[in-house]
Subunit: 457 residues, 2 copies
Amino acid sequence: MSSVKVTIIGAGSVVFSLGLVKDFCLTEGLAGSKVCFMDINEERLDVVYRLGLRYAEDLGANLKFERTLNREESLQDADFVINTATVTHNEYFMKRRRELVAKFGYFYGHSGMPEYHNLQLMLDVARDMERICPDAWVLQAGNPVFDGTTLMGRETYIKACGLCHGHYGYRAIARIIGLDPDRVTWQAPGLNHNIWLTHFYYEGKDAYPLLDEWIANKAEAYWEELAKAGREIPAQMSPSAIHQYKMFGLMPVGDTPRGGGWWYHTDLETRKRWYGGSGGGDTPQGRDLVLKHKEEKYEQMKQAAYDAKVRPIALFGSQKTTEQHIPIIDGLVNDHEGRFQVNVLNNGALAGLPDDVAVEVPAVVNKKGIQPLCVGSLPPKIMLEHIYPDWLEMERTLEALLSGDKSMLLWGILTSHQTRSYDQAVQVLEALLAMEPNEPMAYVEDINKHYKWPKNW
Amino acid sequence: MSSVKVTIIGAGSVVFSLGLVKDFCLTEGLAGSKVCFMDINEERLDVVYRLGLRYAEDLGANLKFERTLNREESLQDADFVINTATVTHNEYFMKRRRELVAKFGYFYGHSGMPEYHNLQLMLDVARDMERICPDAWVLQAGNPVFDGTTLMGRETYIKACGLCHGHYGYRAIARIIGLDPDRVTWQAPGLNHNIWLTHFYYEGKDAYPLLDEWIANKAEAYWEELAKAGREIPAQMSPSAIHQYKMFGLMPVGDTPRGGGWWYHTDLETRKRWYGGSGGGDTPQGRDLVLKHKEEKYEQMKQAAYDAKVRPIALFGSQKTTEQHIPIIDGLVNDHEGRFQVNVLNNGALAGLPDDVAVEVPAVVNKKGIQPLCVGSLPPKIMLEHIYPDWLEMERTLEALLSGDKSMLLWGILTSHQTRSYDQAVQVLEALLAMEPNEPMAYVEDINKHYKWPKNW
């Protein structure tokens, strides 16, 4: 058992910090370790810090907690940095941006504008780490994991691993077709948010025929039943996901069926057709629900942090989450070996992609490090229709970021299938660049300073 | 001087055959050679055969002419095969197809339907050659040159070289900005119909500043003058081409500015804005003019072939064309070395693309063969926004062809920026597959036999 220092950047994140604190408390091998919470929002930082202290009391965990508003300070002596921070994936900002681009004719924010702020932040953090804690791992939790892990891996010497929970979609597939997920052997490599179930065994036998049977005989009834009950269909087993399976030949897993192609997402009616119910989570209404849940969760966290009558254990239980961050740290630090789904630079793990592109693959993690399995290749159709196009989009996003070429932002918007004309693209680009900044934007270079039109424009 | 047998497949082509015959007659090194015309259209075959005989008389050329309706027969003992044949790029078929998809809301045929017939024909010819004349070169003139040259290079052992004339666009650029094209040194590598002016020198000095000056001070006047005169703007120096130069950083050359991005081609008004005049050649009206010119040219060819009072030389002159086919044959056969712009499998000539992708690059041609220059790389922005996307589209077209997977045709249509919904894509696919075949389609496998939905569809 070794004690380490783990820094959580963007610790006020509702999605991640609660679970991270709990997993930390419940991981014996990390007893004596120090958790440093860092956030730019003092109120949220205090909530998570107090919550950590009280949760550790509840669970009898031997941990030290620190908090700071200063990123550089937080990185001092860090062994691991979990970066959950986001500038633009904040629910309020995303809503504001969706509403802005809706005025220009875009449904649900599909403007094609390449990511900038979050990537610049990841790069800034990794560069800080090069100076301050060059031997530490960064576990990247905030999106875009694919672009960001590639970017940090190329531009810095920091050991970077991107993590997501989407791959657990295989469990939903199994459960819904009537199988015990714990008896499933599976593999779903690809790129983050773009992974495909290449192998799916139940008790050692190919389970794809069972899925086919479910689709042929039970899918309609399943969707109807949920509709009658007024419940949403999980995207993982939606008509869209099944259509993608038919179209591309393998089941899309996790966040993958939330994409799949522009034609599933053109407007609310189309979303209802392919995702059932009220159109699923990726609609303005669906996302308002997500925001509401997050607000409720945050209120609970505040209670658990400050209310003398409420204990964290009573609200949030004493079970580990299924998130991978803390078990991976445990594996690396204490040689408690495990199998995880990670995003790391390819280096041959997934055939057909360059070495310096972050792929999502299974890996064995132990004292030696994060060791991806060489999974071979995906079928040509999936490579050509999903993996390579996504790879190119990532490359353009990074090239735009690193060159600061504003015409590449415009080109990104022009590639949105919802863009109808050149002038519309120019207008929405200018509107996006003129948006009132949110608070975290003060911590990265101004987008209008970062991007310039090419000469002769 | 060596005599060879050159077979021209699709010899009834108005675009190519007249020039090929003339160049042949005017190339002394090929005296004594045999030209075998092959076509499935007996009337057109006879026209070009008679025209060849009479042109050779006019020019005093020592050539033998043969003709046949039988492809296998035409390939016997061939040293070179010039494949100008087309199934679907026939003007009448293209017009019929444009009009069909217009009913589904597509402007100027931009349905995204992947190519099949022409590629299957190229493959069939190359496979025949493997059996009948395995040492012959195929010079591929019919489109799609990019996909077809790659396909033949991968799937057969035949030496394949694709040829186009688009690269002469550099001469139009020079001429229009007031430079003597003969004093220009240039390079414009890429993929066929996707080439970019990386180097542009006038009398040894960078001429890009002269282009910039023309754009800043003279372009508007040039366009206005043509408009006043009721003349069309050449696509090479259209507002679209200049915009592409600003957007991507290098001048697009030849057929390249005819593409550039969906937003230049959404409807006739948009075409007028970016290409001036009545919208340029790539509009229904513009293409009708092309068809009319071809019909007039064919009438002239008939006259020159049959009319006792009309000599070919009087109608078509005694100057060599600028087409590269015959000079390349002369270079290979007689070691009359020359520099050409060719399409051949990459093998390292253009950095950043796989070896087995046909690139368009300059090459030295002599007895040793067709030897591409290693041109280095194109700028990242052009690679990411033009070269790689085009490469992927080609790969998908070939994978669809080789796998016979109908869902990949549907996916192709879904990638058209003019497709508005999934149902529209399904409908236009079915309509395209149900089109009344044209005559040449009888010579390749039926598209409805070739493509099948995947299992479980």
